[in-house]
């Protein structure tokens, strides 16, 4: 563990709430509006932290525990994530599976808390979240497996510090495409879910957290922006793994690319409509297919 990896982790923890702000600003520019401040998520989090929390009488300890566990799971995932050649604070063989299932733990507790409220509306959102992530998870894991096979390493730090040969180029491009779809689906962005449609029947993620208020909701907001940062940084690492960057330049490259990625998400949200609910599994199955293709290519090239 060195100062560089701590710097990388801190950059993620501090800059993550910036991403939703940048996405919203990009959408506002596209629509010709001025838009809310880029730092709006920070303001929201600080405002919510100063308020008190209200708990429904039907909820139990699961409901109060889940935001904290979610936050811990996402921070644990972020400690496993390197910035190109700069190593992650924690790394061991097989940590890519832990990385994927940290998000599984977060999702499980979010869903359990949503069911705990006893609201039919939140139960519906929970059902959709689980359905879509059941399809997004194979795409993520198969993509990670392809990366592991291409570089011959089972830890994220090892994968991104070793450069795969140029013959793995098409496979890396495919993994990036699959990861981008997973990124959009897991963060409930537009082709899968529209984060702006509060209280409409099409939403997935937002509906599950309706009963949270005050500091709990602040933690949920922070957790979801950290999740966006972690999955986005994974994608950026895959995209730029061929760049020979070392030291602070690598950390700066990842942080800068995260901003570009959120501009890209903003553009996608401005030019695309949300897919109908029945089409979403098709999109995610497409991501799985792309990941399988990448894995097959890699198996073929390295055997």
């Amino acid at each position: 563990m060195n100062t560089l990896s701590i710097l990388n982790l801190l950059a993620g923890l501090i800059l993550a709430p910036l991403l939703p702000g940048i996405i919203n600003r990009t959408k506002a520019v596209f629509a010709g509006r001025h838009g809310q401040p880029v730092l709006q998520t920070y303001f929201d989090i600080f405002k919510l932290l100063r308020k008190g929390a209200v708990y429904s009488r039907t909820t139990s300890w699961v409901f109060r525990l889940s935001p904290v566990i979610g936050l811990a799971a996402v921070i644990a995932a972020m400690t496993l994530l390197p910035a190109l050649s700069a190593p992650a604070p924690v790394s061991f063989a097989g940590d890519l599976i832990l990385f994927a299932y940290c998000f599984g733990l977060l999702r499980f507790f979010l869903v359990a808390a949503a069911l705990d409220t006893g609201s039919a509306f939140e139960g519906m959102g929970a059902s959709r979240e689980v359905q879509f992530s059941a399809l997004a998870e194979p795409a993520l894991l198969l993509g990670l497996a392809a990366l592991a096979r291409a570089t011959g390493s089972l830890s994220l730090t090892g994968i991104f510090s070793a450069s795969a040969g140029p013959s793995a180029g098409p496979a890396l491009a495919l993994v990036s495409a699959a990861l981008f779809i997973v990124f959009l689906a897991e963060n409930a962005r537009i082709p899968v879910d529209d984060p702006n449609t509060h209280l409409e029947l099409t939403m997935i993620h937002e509906v599950m957290v309706l009963d949270y208020s005050g500091p709990d909701f602040a933690i949920i907001l922070y957790t979801s922006s950290l999740k966006m940062w972690a999955l986005g940084a994974l994608l950026v690492n895959v995209l730029f793994s061929f760049l020979p960057l070392h030291g602070p330049a690598a950390v700066a490259c990842v942080a800068g690319s995260m901003i570009l990625l959120s501009v890209l998400v903003g553009i996608v949200e401005s030019i695309m409509a949300r897919l109908s609910l029945l089409k979403v599994p098709q999109l995610l199955a497409g991501a799985v297919a792309i990941s399988v293709l990448a894995l097959t290519l890699v198996l073929r090239f390295t055997s």
């Binding site: 199955a285 399988v292 293709l293 097959t296 073929r300």
Partner: protein, 214 residues
């Protein structure tokens, strides 16, 4: 060049997946046109240095036919039939995609078992050919509308063409052009068949032909 070739082949597989997953017939025609152009570019990327003029002539012929003439014919047939999408395929789009994945893995497995005398510089060409062939056959079997079946036929032909490129080095130009001519006539005849199916049944659902049985 190997990167260019592999990118083309990977794009071919992806277009196959897209065709398996798309319900709009117009989009399917466009994707199959793209696939045709990709297969036309393949011999150019394969680098048979000494045969360059023959190879480029064939490539131009394939691109012209599969990228321009066939889509035009199919679009005119589609316009007359007044149908825009495949409504109820025999196998759903999700299941089709998973079949596509199975075909892909199956064709890579088959390639390792067959030990073909491959002349190509890329290991990928034969598995891609198998996967396109099985995708094409699947589209013919699993879709209802005649239009999707014609597209499946074209995908099948693209697969056979790739297979020919991989296994037979330097097929005579005349033979290749003859095959292209045959496909042209086939698509032309299928266009007429679609027109007649549509006039008889007010739809291009080829399944209704079974109603003709006595």
């Amino acid at each position: 060049m190997i990167i260019l070739l592999d990118t083309l082949l990977v794009t071919l597989i992806l277009t196959g997946f897209l065709l398996l997953g798309s319900s709009r017939l117009g989009a399917s025609i466009r994707i199959s046109a793209l696939q045709g152009i990709m297969t036309g570019l393949l011999p150019l990327a394969l680098e048979h240095g000494d045969l360059f003029s023959y190879v480029s002539l064939l490539g131009v012929a394939v691109i012209g036919l599969k990228g321009y003439v066939f889509p035009r014919l199919l679009f005119s047939a589609l316009r007359e039939s007044d149908t825009s999408r495949e409504v109820q395929p025999f196998v759903g789009y999700m299941a089709s995609l998973f079949f596509g994945i199975l075909f892909l893995m199956g064709s890579f497995w088959l390639d390792t078992r067959l030990n073909l005398p491959v002349h190509s510089s890329s290991d990928l060409l034969v598995p891609v050919a198998f996967s396109l062939m099985s995708c094409g056959l699947f589209l013919i079997v699993a879709r209802r509308t005649a239009m999707s079946q014609v597209i499946g036929y074209l995908v099948l032909e693209n697969g056979i063409y790739c297979f020919g490129l991989a296994v037979v080095s330097g097929m005579p130009l005349l033979l290749e052009l003859g095959v292209l001519m045959d496909i042209f006539v086939a698509v032309f005849v299928m266009g007429i068949a679609i027109y007649h199916i549509n006039r008889e049944f007010d739809h291009i659902d080829a399944d209704r032909l079974s109603a003709l049985k006595g």
